[in-house]
Amino acid sequence: MTVSIPFELNGAPVQANVCPETRLMDVLRDPFGLTGTKEGCGEGECGSCTILLDGQPVLSCLTAVGAVRGRPVTTIEGLRSTPGFALLSRALNDAGAVQCGFCTPGIIMVAYALLRDFPAPDEKTIRAALAGNLCRCTGYNMIVEAIALAARKRGDAW
């Protein structure tokens, strides 16, 4: 049953005319064309599809679009122009933390929320925050270093 579901997408009010059971990820990718949200597993195990819902990292493959009615959703596209994103992407570059890049948008979503809420996370906190984001290329350490680097240079990015 198709219904109209209003929500806030990357700061703008939008309507999705779909079955409310549709996965949020599918709605984001098509019709909204926001393909920065990646499907790595479709079962909530890999974190590649992480978005922010009410500002918190959430798995868009395990979220039905009906659940986001009236709530703010942020994807990687919505972060692109923020100082926090600029800081994180530079740190990921400088730490050599991006290889195939398929997991990277999901990791940035998590790191963004982490540094917003915890200005100076220790290594353990960073690792715990990343525990739901699988990366098969880097072995994680360079990603952890990148986030620590971004935290050190955080300034007033948030």
Binding site: E21, R23, G44, Q56, L59, G132
Partner: protein, 284 residues
């Protein structure tokens, strides 16, 4: 397809009615989206009833010798709330990944009724009650009667789980450990939730529950009974006996994730670890 179901109710009554009409309750979605993945992918899903607008389900009330936790509280909300019992906080913090915990709810974890559900052993130890609401009635039942088997509950078609009630208790020591294939973000192979009170060298109270070693969470009432009022001093010397008792009470199986042998031995090892911890710590 069931037409005309309210997909975003704002009251418990409307939600319960929509459920009676054939909808499926959607709390955090993390389990239901997996269970219905196939039908969602083919566009054949039964309608979901989204509970996030039912504000009453998000309420927490502390007082009157109990804590009442709305069923829609998420695992991360519980894990970080100082109002919540420590044991439950610890249990909820071991569920899945951080992003999963931001949406997965306590009510959902209970209604999924998996023997590996991570909040459950803690709720059994805390002797939680669940509040079930239909459009017309409310009933309160103990968690261990609510869950009737693996993935089975006594929830009626027109009922929803509205809240979890944790009676106050005099327990002093709490212990929780989850064993899973990796450090975090993995399904439980075996877990323990336990609590005890030791006074004047006597085990005044003890409660034990194990996850993923039986069709439901296993609470060890007969063993607790035996241990109650025992002097703690001699327990270390007779630990093999108590471990054997644990091994007899649980009913683990072989599956893709582990073996019955591993679960049995590990469960009794977790019990020993708990006993070591509490007896080492002394009074309290």
């Amino acid at each position: 397809m069931v037409a005309g179901i309210t997909f975003c109710p704002e009251t418990i009554q409307t939600a319960a009615r929509a459920k009676a009409d054939g909808g499926i309750l959607y709390a955090g979605g993390t389990d239901i989206m997996l269970r219905h993945a196939q039908s969602i992918r083919t566009g054949q899903s039964v309608p979901f009833i989204f509970l996030n607008a039912v504000t009453e389900l998000k309420r927490v009330v502390v007082g009157g010798s109990k804590t009442r936790i709305g069923a829609m509280l998420t695992m991360s909300e519980i894990a970080r709330s100082p109002d919540m019992p420590d044991l439950l906080r610890r249990a909820c913090s071991t569920v899945g990944s951080p992003a999963l915990r931001s949406t997965a709810t306590l009510g959902g974890n209970i209604c999924t009724a998996s023997p590996a559900g991570d909040s459950l052993p803690a709720l059994y130890v805390l002797e939680a009650l669940v509040e079930l609401r239909s459009p017309t009635k409310t009933r309160l039942i103990p968690i261990d009667s609510f869950i009737s088997g693996p993935k089975e509950t006594v929830l009626a078609t027109d009922e929803l789980l509205a809240a979890v009630i944790i009676p106050d208790n005099n327990l002093k020591r709490f212990h929780h450990r989850k064993v899973s294939p990796r450090t975090a973000n993995a399904i439980t192979k075996v877990s323990i939730a336990a609590a005890a009170t030791i006074e004047d060298g006597i085990m005044k109270d003890i409660r034990l529950a194990f996850g993923a070693v039986g069709p439901t969470v296993i609470r060890c009432a007969s063993l607790e009974e035996e241990l109650r009022d025992m002097p703690t001093e001699g327990l270390a010397g007779t630990i093999s006996y108590w471990k054997r008792r644990v091994e007899k009470l649980i009913e683990p199986i072989d599956d893709l994730r582990s073996t019955a042998q591993y679960r049995r031995i590990t469960a009794s090892g977790l019990f020993q670890e708990f006993m070591n911890t509490i007896t080492r710590q002394g009074e309290g």
